[in-house]
């Protein structure tokens, strides 16, 4: 029985399932995965500077359009969430006594995210609009 169970489930169990904390846990994984997958691509495109202006400018020009710019906004918001939620995790892990205040800390993290996301989105949507007009 034990062997069978281990084949279908993780070694770790599902430590947040059914608790409100599962949402920030899932979002942390989704945003982290999105950022690392983009990073893989981004390192390759940046590395093209080593092959000269023709190669680099050709590839970077592909980024300069409104659709890609909206994806860029999504990526920046994913990174912002991952950073703030990561700070929350680190804060509580390094100061375990704060765990009893997890709910207000969670709300503060969400508020910080919204406060930072609004100007970020405003700036990048303006850039997208300018690109679309151009």
């Amino acid at each position: 029985m034990a062997t069978r169970a281990r084949k279908t489930r993780s070694d770790y169990g599902r430590p947040y399932l059914g608790h409100e904390g599962q949402w920030s846990w899932i979002l942390h994984r989704v945003t982290g995965t999105a950022v690392i997958l983009f990073l893989f691509v981004h390192i390759v495109d940046t590395a093209l500077v080593g092959w000269g202006p023709e190669a680099y400018d050709k590839v970077v020009r592909a980024y300069h359009n409104p659709i890609v710019h909206l994806l860029e906004l999504g990526l920046v918001l994913a990174l912002l969430y991952h950073a703030l939620n990561g700070l929350k995790i680190t804060l509580i892990d390094f100061f375990p006594r704060l765990a009893r205040h997890i709910r207000p800390i969670g709300r503060a993290t969400a508020a910080l995210f919204v406060l930072a996301a609004i100007p970020t989105a405003a700036i990048m949507l303006k850039q997208t609009y300018d690109l679309w007009r151009a």
Binding site: V35, A47, D93
Partner: protein
Amino acid sequence: MARTTTGPTAAPLAGEGRAQRDLRVGRERPLGGAELWWWLFMRISGLLLVFLALGHVAVMHLMDGGAERIDFGFVATRWSSVFWRTWDWLMLMLALIHGVNGLRNITLDYVARPGLRFALTMATYVLALVLMVLGTVVVVTFDPSAWPGAVG
């Protein structure tokens, strides 16, 4: 593969208050060994990356019209500064290791078949290693004077 904690799910226990449940639920810190060092690395590198990556976004994507101003000449001017080359290289290494360890954790959680788990983990390591070498070589050796007239 390393087993750090096994626990029940976060489902409420009979007679358990909300505050008690909040404190009980969640993944524990690894008890020791390599997994404890990885646990610590994720948090320290995460703290550094908050500054490195969010700073990178502010400078490259928000200021002065954002990413549209970036071309070969822009990178050449920017990387004439040792400060930015160091920033970019440090961010590259920390973000790759942090991200690949994150992917490893996710693989350990969701991929139970040992062969597939091993293959996925190894593929991620190899990709990360290749990108580390590629990124490092470019950041260290980039010299725009090889293309005269490209920087105006």
